[in-house]
Amino acid sequence: MRKSFFYLPIYALALFLTIGFYDGAEQKNKTAQNSKEDHCVSCHKENDMMPKGFSENDVHRHAELSCSGCHGGDPSSDDESIAMSPSKGYRGVPKKKDIPQFCGKCHSNINIMRVYQPRIATDQVSQFYTSMHGKKLLQGDVNVADCTSCHTAHNILPAKDPRSTVYALNVPPTCNKCHGDKELMKKYNLPSNQLEEYSKSVHGNELLNKKDIGAPACNDCHGNHGAMPPGLTSVSYVCGMCHINNLQYFNATKMARAFEKQDFHGCEQCHGNHGVQKPSDNMVGVGKESICVDCHNEGDKGYATAKSIKISLDKLSDLYNLAETKLNEVHQKGMNEVEISFLLQDAKQDLIQSRTLVHTFDTVKVNSKTKDGVAIASNALAMAEKQINDYYTRRNGFLAATLAFLLLVVALYFKIKDIGKKNS
């Protein structure tokens, strides 16, 4: 028994080395295969039979994987019958339904993939089959997206490469290739104006116009390979991935449970989905643009809460705007603005937090935060006004000093003249 324990580490080492050598041997073999003269490319180029959209920049080409890496065959042979012989492992062009498995041969194998990226995910294929695209593909629907629909077949680039079809800025147009096709979407009873709506949304404006790749694209809400329309309960969680506080506040309210009962779509109910706009304070309250009054009527508690929250938000917002205007005046006059801008940063923080607290639908919490903000903004306003007053005081002081100097200069002038006369 003791002896076998003694040999255990040696067995483990042997096993480790065997696996290591096996993987290494396979990799070495592949590299050797690819580094030899590649007759696939030379013949296909010669005969003008290169695949559509082929690019030398393809990530696989950069990793020294040749056509045979995916399609099999023997690239070292210039004889078509040998090079493209099934006996040499030639698989040819995969059928659409087989594409996920075709790519997954490598991409689902961590032993192969970790060579290129140690932390790479290898669950894309399994995720894909949970998506609507994958499910439909398994059912034999050839109109749905497969790997190549988004990534292309022969011009695949890393998602971080701005030239890639799946680079953050390119995701909306990539999805829109199919989802913007009216005829195609009609078959699935889906709208086809998502990109149009998204482009006008606050997210779309940030991503597409301001090129802020931190802003959410389609995949940030719907997922990548496991793309699905978010369900009723998961909508809030999708938004909550970024808007964490809003989600936490909202989920802790009675309103969240009331929404569930009524089958309301969480955040989407008030903010919309693809066309989500930058929220304004007017969405709260009882005015024309208010969303609260869609459900609450005068006399009920929700109506009064909405009204009260709006009043305190407006108070802080108006005061903040006024102080900001004064700050600009201070800046234009070249006076000291440092302390005022620090204070206004704090006031703005309170305003943002107050707006977030709206999702608690609790007047006490919102009012307490706006009160803090009002105190800071008032202080900033007073400081700004003092600076503006100082500006005019300095100028008046200068005028007074100039007058005094002038008087002295005139007096001196006459004195000098007088002395001059006496001397002569």
């Binding site: 200068f398 000093a401 001196l412 002038y413 002395i419 001059g420």
Partner: protein
Amino acid sequence: MKRIGNKIIDWIDERYDLTPVRKLLKHKKVPSHKYSAWYYMGGVTLFLFLVQLFTGILLLLYYRPGEESAYESVRFIVTEVKFGWLIRNVHSWSANLLVFFAFLHMFSVFFSKAYKKPRELTWVTGFIILVFTLAFGFSGYLLPWNELSFFATKVGTDIVGVIPIIGEPLRNILRGGEDVTGATLSRFFGIHVAILPAIFTMFLSLHLLFIQRQGMHDPEHFKNLPEEKKKYIPFFPDFALKDFLLWLVVFNILIFLALYFPWELGNKADPFASAPKGIRPEWYFMFMFQTLKLLPAHILFIEGELFGVLVFGVAGFIWMMIPYIKIKNKSDWKVQPLTVIGIVVVAFIVIMTILGYIL
């Protein structure tokens, strides 16, 4: 009031005998002619130096040298200290006006040929004062420790480094190391508030002493006048009062500039940040900076920049030694050779300065 004043003077007179001072004040006369206005330039320069001294001492009460405190203390001065903004802006503006009037004074002396025998040493000490004034400007520019001053100092001290053999050690001594750091700031502060004022005061005292001893210079056209046509005014009180009147006007202009065109503090220097746009030296160094920029990479067998630095060094020395250089007057020339040289120098400085700002 007058009685109290007389009593105090009598009290001093009794103990220290003020007769020589009385004599000097009574007998000192200043020639009066069409170019008399230039006599006041030296006085204005002296006045601006006194303003610098006074405002500098006040700034010293709050200024704290050091990488972590210099910028903050200047910001504190201009934002929190009562009238701190005025003192700092007057100090900055006065420094610039001081250099301007020093140049004006020097060229007026040059063109009126007042540097000639017996006033050679007055000229030499004056030139040394001007050099120290520029050194004051250069060292003081870094003290607020803002982006612009940091990089301008870097460029300025780099120029010193091009001098062969001694250049690099000299640059390292100036910087207190290989780069512009807090050590540079500390030594620039020391140079600005202790070393330079001490040397400057010494040369200024000599300069003033020579003027008092030899009196004002009579220009050529004035000397050639018949005795009865030569007009003089007493230094005291006539000239002194006129001086004072001009000082008041300059002071008022100074406050106007400080109030309406405050000196920006800018952003704090960040040694790791890339150099901001528009780095340039103070306007009085611009002609030298622009010349060095325009010089080709190589002139003959030496580097263009080194060539420029050497030429400026030699030219400066020759300029200081001008009273000892004999250039014969040409009787058939309308404008004498030295005047032509002066005009060329002024034109060169003005053109290069303008080019520095527009190119």
